[in-house]
Symmetry: D2
Subunit: 381 residues, 4 copies
């Protein structure tokens, strides 16, 4: 018999939310979870209606996360993990409470609203027995993992350049309060000091770190809020220097009309370059120096990489996308949690972004803001 | 409370199978089904092991489909629908038995092995109260539906040309018996007289029919088995004439190295053309006559089409793929079945391929084979 | 000192013509020709005005090609070659007269209006000392030549499939007489029996022959004139069988809205496939069987092929296009003609389409028309 | 009779040079020039051999530019314009001498080696009767001009973001002295203080300025020489601020393996974005805000823009490339020079980059170097 499904709770993700539904689909695709409890909204009516939508038993729909953790910790069949899909400012208190209740955490990014919170949370995680995963879902794409292996293997030579970008269009105009997504993301009290920076800049930063294996040492940044009245940045320009001497640029924007979800990375070593774009995730370019041939690697169920292959469900040419990449992260986490039931650990753990990735992300956010406020002075992370 | 999930059984789809797993993921994505019973393999050990893999209760894992239909029909909580994911030759007997037991049918394509069976099954469906769906999953892609609306609205003018193709590479070489997928697909006793023709040619044909709205009246075909010893075609060349005077070509192959799952369609009217390819399903081209501008429609959650929008789960730029398109077909079927519980019908039904699509597919197969055997004589459907 | 430029005359190509200007630019790009004489139009005023436009000395602007050949043959500095860029029906008489005058011929395609003329011209060429080149310019693209070398070298294995297409849009609607290009191309008296077939179908056929190295043995064709009142085909559907057992399809159309100049070829052997498209001529795909890597060869001045490299003027990433490909054919011809001055021959000759290519093209046209008229009966070439 | 061809001389461009041959082809494509004189190399033997290659009369092949200007100025049929295609450090003295001799100048970029020289040259040009053109050839692409018109017309709304890049690979490794191109381009005495910055950074800067219509006010830059021992930058990272409040990034590199000639620009206003890339020059994207449709404009001989249309020689789908764009700049200059013979001016003049563009380019180079040397301090132009 396959291992029983992970019993999952959720905080946030009620009607009108976006990322909660994504987490739920991701948890279902490989059938390793069942969603059995939720504190889906801070609004009790919404919480109840949302639980009904999801066929969660009424007695396991809770009015608050504190209540959920208390009740579930007391049940024999209580939740083993909680997915935190609230606005950013709630990540910290909810994660803290979950850890205190001995519940494993699957947290959306950025990990917290401030670097101080992130550092405190790092302590709490390290002092707990819980597993903590941060859903930097783009790391779940098979060809992103393949790219990381290419770099690790030295296919690119010594890394010199990292060019990463992530433009979107959806905040090009001022948003009314009726746009729930826009509303909290442009409110520093809920999103943190970084707007676009925290929302998607952290994804771009993490992807660069993940594939290149290189650490950013300092940044030179220029943040802008183009839309009148906006309290957080909506465009981010950053030059980067890496510990190994590499350099790079990061551009992310939410005011770039026509850009959909344009996360794209290019890395160049002294032997070859690579290129991958989230909107065409099933192909990865390798461009060797002075080779008049370029190579496109396709997501392929027979691909020559174990780590890539385990995230591939269907044959080549049958495109998998965003939800499947997210599902792979969820399934990796399930494997860790199922092993943890038996006191075991599994190798896949190193591929799952955790609290240290969250801390690095907040360091990046802090340094970028500091640099921009100091007229783009180079600022260490 | 949301409507309870559809209780689903499955015939076929045990370990080593391909399409069964796809159906299961597709059924889970929108959480409208629960898989509660199965006759997953004609091999009892495989059936049991497969049921264990899927966390199906041992008492609802059956040794045969007959047994399953009997037992489940007798349960209050018995299955409401069965997914038939066996090799082609079993579609007919299993579907027939399901209908006899009053169980709704979700059947993979081609609907049967012969046209005679398809016509008989059509009678059985029409004389039953059951809903019968044929999983021509490519119709589930939002932009395929958008394309159909474009044609219906007259954006292309009068349709003149339909060019459709579906090349793959995976049977380029002779396959040993250890390749389970290749084994039954190249055995006429199990796949039907058409090899590549039945396996993917029917998809290409159905897509052309679905988007263009035009009926093929006759075909002129040249079938080939390039691999020595192969008993069924592995390459299909067809010229087509349509009832409205349009003409077209259909090419499908399983011996085209480097072709992955290259289903692609182009339709031209006297005002504009359209183009869509399965491997880049999130974009659809409209090319107006003498317009130096071409238009790309992107899968976009705010798209101006209800039927397309209902198959879109996540925002623009977050790619959805094959599994999501398949899931949309499953969710549409669930909506029909949930309404049927209350004796209702729903509009979405017209977008779901059914038995008549299956019959058309077999007519196409028969006519193509007849034409090819008659030195490519034009042959009516 | 470089060899003196080839002294060139032109028949056709006056004001309002299209392909004449292309030939002139092609002849200038590598500076191996000077245009010194012309019979540019059958209309004397147009002929004179056109010669003035081109800075041709008035005394070398002739009222007819006969006059030109007589006068130029008598000059010490008379033309060494003539470019024939008239409507199709004039190719034969002009070429015949040029050969009779001992003038080398650079002729646009199709070589003549009928197969009989082509065969007669073949005799005349073979019995003359003149060089005869047919401007199948697409053979001039470096990557087309690279592709041919790939096939010759066996990179694809045994060739099984040849899929070629060439859709355009420009005759989608009925054309008035004021459209000079459309006017003669849709008049069988001037264009020959094939419309679209002769105009661009011959290009598609020649490209397939050139790259694949395979000869078509028979065709099964369906010609259509979609536009009411049109006297020649505007859409061509052909299935092909090759002498080596390969099969293929050829589609060409001039009623496909949004299609610009969509010549594209795909060839599959039992080891790999290749793909090249005229609208993106600077890249060539090689797709190996079961390779999850695909390879794109870029036009690159350091490319590993002499024959490709000699058609490349500028570094990689600096796109060359249609005119450069055409210019390469012209420069290859110039090399032959400059060697011929000294009684020498040069290897490049085998890469230049000549009269035998023209004859093959007319055989193809004839067989396609015969097949279509016989309800698509397979017809030998 | 068409106007006689412009009599052209050339300084530089002998055997082994690159850009001289490009200028010559560009001048020939539309047949508005004849190259009649040259000082093709500072090496007399190379100069003579090169002149012979080009069929320049021996008496008009000169040992130095001074000699050429003197001799040609004294001839009735002397050169009307000189193309300066030397290494950068010679642009200034040669242009100065040409102006002194009353000869129009067609100069490659960057206009001079230093800003001081550029400013002095500006005075000289303004005080002369000569026409001075700077061959920023990328402005000659039809769709670049179309893009500029789109911005001018307000199709994008208020411009907010300008992202431009120009990566190449060819200096990824240290170059020996035998690489003539690399040799002078990496020698500050000949190329100027900027390496990659001057060579291609100026192109990227000019393209951004040309299309956006916006002036850069200040830059924040990080220059790198990745290759050990290299005396000039080989990678350029710049953040930009524009006078109207827009911001941007510019990346250019010559150490990016696999990058060929990757000039690409994206501009975003508050209504729409545009995108154009030099390697696919025949298409231009317009991406409207919240439009699920994107628009691709194709180079099309019937395009709705006079300025674009005049640079288009052949129909849609027949790709034109780098040489044709360059030729358009040459032909525009010819039109100015032919009008100037009669004391007239022509509108096209505003589309031709001149000395003021050269000065802006040097201001950019100077500011970028100053910023980089000051630890990326924001520096005004």
């Amino acid at each position: 018999m396959a291992a029983p499904r992970i019993r999952l709770g959720m905080v946030g993700g009620g009607r009108g939310a976006f990322i909660g539904a994504v987490h739920r689909i991701a948890s279902r695709i490989d059938d390793k979870y069942e969603l059995v409890a939720g504190a889906l909204s801070s609004n009790p009516e919404n919480a109840k209606a949302s639980a009904d939508d999801l066929l969660i038993a009424p007695e396991r729909s809770y009015a608050s996360y504190e209540e959920m953790f208390n009740a579930e910790a007391a049940r024999e069949d209580g939740i083993e993990a909680v997915a935190i899909v609230t606005p950013n400012h709630m990540h910290f208190p909810v994660a803290k409470a979950a850890l205190a209740a001995g519940i494993n955490v699957i947290c959306d990014k950025p990990v917290t609203r401030t670097l101080e919170e992130a550092l405190e949370l790092e302590q709490l995680v390290n002092n707990s027995d819980c597993f903590f995963a941060l859903t930097h879902n783009y790391s779940g794409y098979p060809l992103v993992r393949y790219a990381r292996e290419m770099v690790e293997r030295g296919d690119l030579g010594n890394i010199r350049l990292v060019q990463v970008e992530y433009p979107q269009e959806w905040l090009t105009e001022a948003q009314g309060d009726d746009n729930k997504q826009a509303s909290w993301r442009t409110d520093p009290a809920r999103s943190g000091a970084g707007g676009c920076l925290g929302d998607i800049g952290t994804h771009a930063f993490q992807l660069a770190r993940f594939i290149s294996g290189q650490k950013v040492s300092s940044v030179c940044a220029d943040l802008t809020a183009f839309v009148p009245g906006r309290q957080v940045d909506d465009n981010v320009h950053v030059m980067m220097r890496f510990e190994n001497g590499a350099k790079g640029m990061l551009w992310t924007s939410q005011v770039a009309p026509g850009c959909e979800n344009g996360l794209k990375i290019r890395i160049y070593g002294d032997k070859a370059g690579l290129e991958w774009a989230q909107e065409t995730p099933n192909e990865l370019w390798l461009t060797p120096l002075f080779g008049h041939h370029q190579r496109i690697t396709r997501r392929d169920d027979n691909i020559d990489s174990d780590i890539a292959a385990r995230g591939i469900r269907i044959p080549q040419g049958h495109p998998e996308g965003y939800l499947e990449g997210f599902a792979t992260v969820y399934s990796d986490i399930a494997e860790v949690l199922q092993a943890k039931r038996d006191g075991k650990t599994v190798d896949i753990q190193r591929w799952i972004p955790g609290i240290e990735t969250g801390v690095e992300g907040l360091k990046f956010i802090s340094a970028v803001i500091a640099s921009s406020e100091a007229d783009s002075r180079w600022t260490e992370l």
